[in-house]
């Protein structure tokens, strides 16, 4: 450890990224996530019901229980993950970079320095339009893995963030 700090740490105090300082996503975004799960649930139940009606022979109780319990578990799991994971989602704009964090089981934090951003996009899906939310997508030269998307921002904030970032990009060119 000591050896390591000697070789790397030139500046006295590197600026740290603190989890608590992140901006939370808009609460309305949680509603969108719920609606998505609900749609998924509807499709799944529809498919299951058609399957059970169309099938002619009667299934053993055990098979029936498995067929019904797997989707139920899946949906309960996704609801739980969404509710518990939502407070962990957040973004942070610092002087020189932009970060986004997420993940309940696997926590992920990704940071893109402003001087590496290629261009910025504001997107709005159908659901998001109803709730007046937008997402900001940041492209770098690093390919899909390093692109960054911040969902669930109030449309106005998303626009502001975009113009702020565009300004930062032009500074570096």
């Amino acid at each position: 450890m000591e050896n390591f700090s000697n070789s790397v740490l030139i500046p006295q105090n590197l600026p740290e990224i603190k989890e608590e300082t992140f901006n939370k996503l808009d609460g309305k975004y949680l509603k969108i996530l719920f609606i998505r799960i609900a749609i998924f649930m509807l499709i799944l139940t529809g498919a299951l019901t058609t399957f059970l009606i169309l099938i002619e022979e009667t299934l053993p109780i055990l098979v029936l229980i498995i067929i019904i319990s797997i989707p139920t578990l899946l949906i309960t799991y996704s609801i739980l993950i969404t509710v518990l994971g939502f407070p962990r989602k957040g973004y942070l704009v610092r002087e020189k970079d932009l970060s986004y964090q997420k993940g309940l089981i696997t926590y992920k934090l990704i940071t893109v320095p402003f001087n590496r951003i290629q261009h910025v996009e504001v997107n709005q899906g159908i659901l998001a339009k109803i709730f007046k939310l937008s997402s900001v997508k940041i492209y770098t030269a690093g390919g899909n893995a390093s692109d960054l998307s911040i969902p669930g921002l109030p449309a106005e904030i998303a626009q502001n963030l975009k113009s702020f970032l565009s300004e930062k990009i032009s500074e570096h060119e």
């Binding site: 992920k108 940071t111 590496r116 690093g142 390093s146």
Partner: protein, 494 residues
Amino acid sequence: MNNPDLSKPTRQSVKGLALIFIQGVRQSIRIFWPLVLMLVFQKEIFANNLIWVFIGIAVFIMLIIHSILFYLNFYFHVSGGEFILKKGYLRKKTLTIPLERIQSVNTKQNLLQQILNVVTLEIDTAGTAAKELKIHALEKSFATELQNQLRSGKINKGSEDKEQAEFIEPEEELILKLDPVDLLKIGISQNHLRTGLIVLAFGFQIFQKVEDVFKGKADEYSGEFVNYMSNSSLALIIFLLIFFLIISILISLFRTVFKYFDFKLLKKENAYRVVAGLVNKRNVVMPLNKIQELNWETGPIKKQFGIYNLVFKQAVSGQNRKVQLVDAPGCLSKHLELLKTDLFGEDNLSTNSKFFSNNYYFRRLWILSGWFPFVFTAPFLYTEWLFWLLAFVWLAASAAYSFLILKKRYFQIHNTQIRISKGAISQKWKQMELFKIQSVEFKQTIFQKRRSLASLDLMNASGSMTIPYIDESIAKLIYDYLLFHTETSGKSWM
């Protein structure tokens, strides 16, 4: 023709007609071959020969007309600091590229082009539509001249001292050259297991087809041999192993010789140039600043010969997100050292301490590769005694394999550089300059959190480097340092 005047719209070489024609034939064959095949096998349709001759001639004439029109409508020229390419007769297309966005100009030559003495010129840009900017038939001398003009045009735009640029005709320095003996060594030391598997997959398919067709006859001829083989499974396995080993060694050898024949790595000013190939000759220029990462690899057999396999990873151009790789199949450690110094400067990393991944990484690998398959198959097979034997061997083998992975997984970091090592049986190193980083990712599962471990992903324009399972505090420190370094570095990543 030898001194290209780029201000006027120019067509490609007349020989291009032949190339366009042959490409047309190829395309039509690709589209119509199932139809043709069907017709050939249904002989009765050929009763009326005249119609087929007529259709053949019609297609032939149409292809010729297509070639001529395509040729006549294919122009390129430079005006207003832009390279302009026009093509197409039914659907006209104009491609425009600002000269300063041209990254590199490469040439390629396949067998036919070698016979005609023309080359394909590829203009690589930092933007989109890169794949479209190809001129398939240029006289070689013309192409070289054009290559130089486009390149120097770009340089002159940057700096005003035009005189200097013209005065100093930079000399090319030969860095690496592979003669046939080297290629032989390299071919033998390839990863035969991988080639073997491909051969096996292909061989199996071909075998099935051949079997279908010649089933009756094959039985007559090879009855005895097949009988003997199927009666002694051990002999069969050994025979197959030796057979596929020989075939894959031969294939590796041929592949290496064909692809890397007369391989040369040259350096000129701020770019490397790679020339190689027996049938398909390629001539690739890599500007140094476009190289994001240097990878080198050695395996158990390669180590005996002291051979390393080199890969230059270049920046991905624009939306066309395909990593460009230029590789040298083999080089000696002195070449490797030379290239490393050339790309990264003085080697400060080798003396720095190695940070290995935590032992817990081994556990995860072993659980995933060993215990998972075991636990999932056990309920179905637990009655078989052979299963328990195989399961034991499998668990032991995956433990050994995971251990090898753990022992080779480390990284070394310095103020401006990072190098990571990974591998199991062979070992691979990746090195990059820290300012090439595009973004950084910190990952931590709840299992890692309990043990204060984390993983890092460092993304650059040609891919990413992963540092798995290191101390959380170190990971955070590196994370912050990398951001600090990238944000304060004034150097452009490309």
